[in-house]
Symmetry: C2
Subunit: 263 residues, 2 copies
Amino acid sequence: MSRGDQPIAVFDAGLGGLTVVRALRRILPQENLVYLGDTAHLSGGNNSPEIIERATLQGGAWLARLNPKLLVIACTSASVHGLAALQAAAPCPVIGVIEPGAEAAALASGPLGVIGSWATIASGAYPEAIHRRNPAALVHSLACPLLASFAEEGWLDDPITDAVCRRYLNQIPFEAHTILLTSTHYPILLPSLARIRPGANWLDCAELTAKAVERLLRGGLGWATASARGGLRILLSDPSPRFLEMGERFLGAPLQSVEGVAI
Amino acid sequence: MSRGDQPIAVFDAGLGGLTVVRALRRILPQENLVYLGDTAHLSGGNNSPEIIERATLQGGAWLARLNPKLLVIACTSASVHGLAALQAAAPCPVIGVIEPGAEAAALASGPLGVIGSWATIASGAYPEAIHRRNPAALVHSLACPLLASFAEEGWLDDPITDAVCRRYLNQIPFEAHTILLTSTHYPILLPSLARIRPGANWLDCAELTAKAVERLLRGGLGWATASARGGLRILLSDPSPRFLEMGERFLGAPLQSVEGVAI
């Protein structure tokens, strides 16, 4: 098997990362994907850096055994706190969601809004990555912990969800025309967010990460050679019925044959 | 040290159990309390039974080393799925939050509402425990996953929180005059809930569990003999700043000197 035919492995602490899988399947339909959601261990956006780094290393080590050509950390907290450690340990290239998002944000004109989980915002990782590229960027960061809960509950196209989005977005100055969604949970809330700020320029980290993967394949990792649609394996460390229901919302398609794994 | 002077140990997967600690401190102010919140491992109400049982056994084993006179599982999911296993393994009596809540609910007249996390409601544990005592009880159970998120975010006394409470409570027939709050997160939402259903009879599992502890002490476990106010140790497997902020809301008091522990 040539390297191009090896799978792309995607790690997430939970299920939001399935929005990255969704974008990958749209942009790179021929690729074989393996998704590992460590639903048994992490509550995600509230944990401390050491806990997140350890879980990311464990999940990455598990996926590395499948001999992927690329490891994608499709989880913002894990990208902030686990990317460097996993890059040092993994036998293949590893990318996270921070750099693709920051790269697009740094190109935007005018003040920026950056919204995410408590841990992501508290880390300061996005302003730092944006300022490395554009030291003059004016960044308004805001933690929006309830947004991930609403995405998980699936109250989409809903006045209460709109009210929650409004409460948060009103804390970002209106001059911030470009808003970066740093959590992989947020893409499914985009209709609500866009109703509150019509005309804003939304940067979706799931979409941007999938495009970064495409550039890496083109840049040398190589494409899958099969002409048929690539496969998708979904592995969860806790495949509870509730997680399966949530997962479908993030993937935007039925979850077929989920495998439970012990990490 | 007499048995009465040994501490009461309280285990929770997260921080909601601090509402039980709060009730214990009010009802039994002279007792020494040790609280262990396993914030590093569990997201709580969405996990599957095996994962919850394992985490409960690990947390209980950790607390048992402190030689408590009683172990309290202050977490509904852990009580549903971990109580029997921990009772079999622990060197002291163990109680959970299900039986105290079900006992009070079974005494109520008319139809009952039971609200809780996805895992609690899916388990059927409350209807079962209520029907064991009152086979004729009519129980309307409803999973309300967002309520715990709102409690954690601390949007209390807030119109959006009221709207979320209304959305859920409207799914419970109005004839259900008595409503059991099964999650230890919910007591701090009681003002919102009561605004939606004024005059309802709210059964608060944190309060009911603390009263059950009092009965066990009176029934033979014995009281702390010190005349001064008892101490409170708070141990978290992940003491992130976000968790400390949440914890204060559930305890209703500043969290003093939290200790980080590895479980």
